[in-house]
């Protein structure tokens, strides 16, 4: 059975750079604890048959930074979001554009087509199938993401 596989870290950086128009470096990091009680975005990707394929979790700093950089909103808005511990709707809406396009990270010529189903914002409860991908993933990638000029953020990819 064909399955979804995770992209190399550098492709994540290339995609975000292309979208926000600012150099973005992505570095693999050792397995870092994921606390879904903290505010973060959780992008759920599915195959065309509706089956869950993969998940991208982005912490508040990355979600806010990506959302701000995409719309040329100054970094101060990200600092405000991090300090308040919540992601403003406008930044969430913008970051959703990034995770939408990020579906292409999972699409290869010989694997099932994958698209974004939803982007959830924790600490809201996640659908069971999304939680199952996170807990039962056979592939995991943890990266630190630095959008130039914006706070450092973290991303976890699961498939």
């Amino acid at each position: 059975m064909l399955t979804t596989s995770l992209p190399p870290a550098e492709l994540v950086g290339k995609l975000i750079t292309g979208l926000v128009g600012r150099p973005t470096t992505v570095d693999r990091m050792p397995a870092a604890a994921l606390d879904l009680n903290q505010p973060s975005t959780v992008a759920a990707y599915i195959q065309d048959n509706g089956m869950m394929a993969s998940v991208i979790v982005s912490d508040l700093a990355l979600s806010a930074s990506g959302g701000a950089a995409l719309a040329l909103i100054p970094p101060g808005a990200v600092q405000d979001a991090v300090e308040s511990g919540s992601l403003p709707d406008s930044l969430a809406e913008n970051y959703r554009e990034i995770v939408n396009v990020a579906a292409r990270l999972f699409n290869r010529p010989n694997t099932p087509h994958v698209r974004l189903r939803d982007m959830h914002i924790t600490p809201e409860m996640l659908p069971a199938d999304v939680s199952n991908v996170i807990s039962g993933a056979t592939e995991r990638l943890f990266v630190e993401v630095q959008v130039e000029g914006y706070p450092l953020g973290k991303m976890w990819l699961f498939a």
Partner: protein, 120 residues
């Protein structure tokens, strides 16, 4: 000249506008619509020289918009700017008369290559 940008995402419409300016098309009038239905209303009111449309939108998708324009015999220049580009999408776009399909993320150079031959 008028370019109509059709996308349900406000930030993507802004990015397309920005990239058009970076590509040298900033002296054209850039107008926006949130979906295919709004695009048809905009086109009926003021005919654009080029339509740049997203693929997936509520109310009416980009391909539905293109098909409707074909049904009307509008004869408009039309291109897609989309989140993904599968071979099937490109085939469908071309079969319905789209002049190009640009996948996100895109660059000013990509826009120049696709649009300059059309608008000059």
């Amino acid at each position: 000249m008028r370019i109509l940008i059709v996308d349900d995402s406000r930030v993507m419409r802004m990015i397309v506008q920005r990239t058009l300016r970076q590509a040298g098309f900033g002296d054209h009038e850039l107008v926006e619509a949130e979906n295919g239905v709004e695009a048809l209303e905009s086109i009926a009111a003021n005919r654009p020289d080029l339509v740049l449309s997203d693929w997936n939108m509520p109310e009416m998708t980009g391909i539905q918009l293109l098909k409707e324009l074909n049904n009307q015999g509008a004869g408009l220049k039309f291109g897609f700017v989309t989140s993904e580009s599968t071979p099937e999408m490109r085939e469908q776009a071309t079969a319905n008369g789209a002049l190009f399909l640009i996948a996100k993320p895109f660059t000013a150079e990509t826009f120049q290559e696709a649009i300059t031959p059309i608008l000059g």
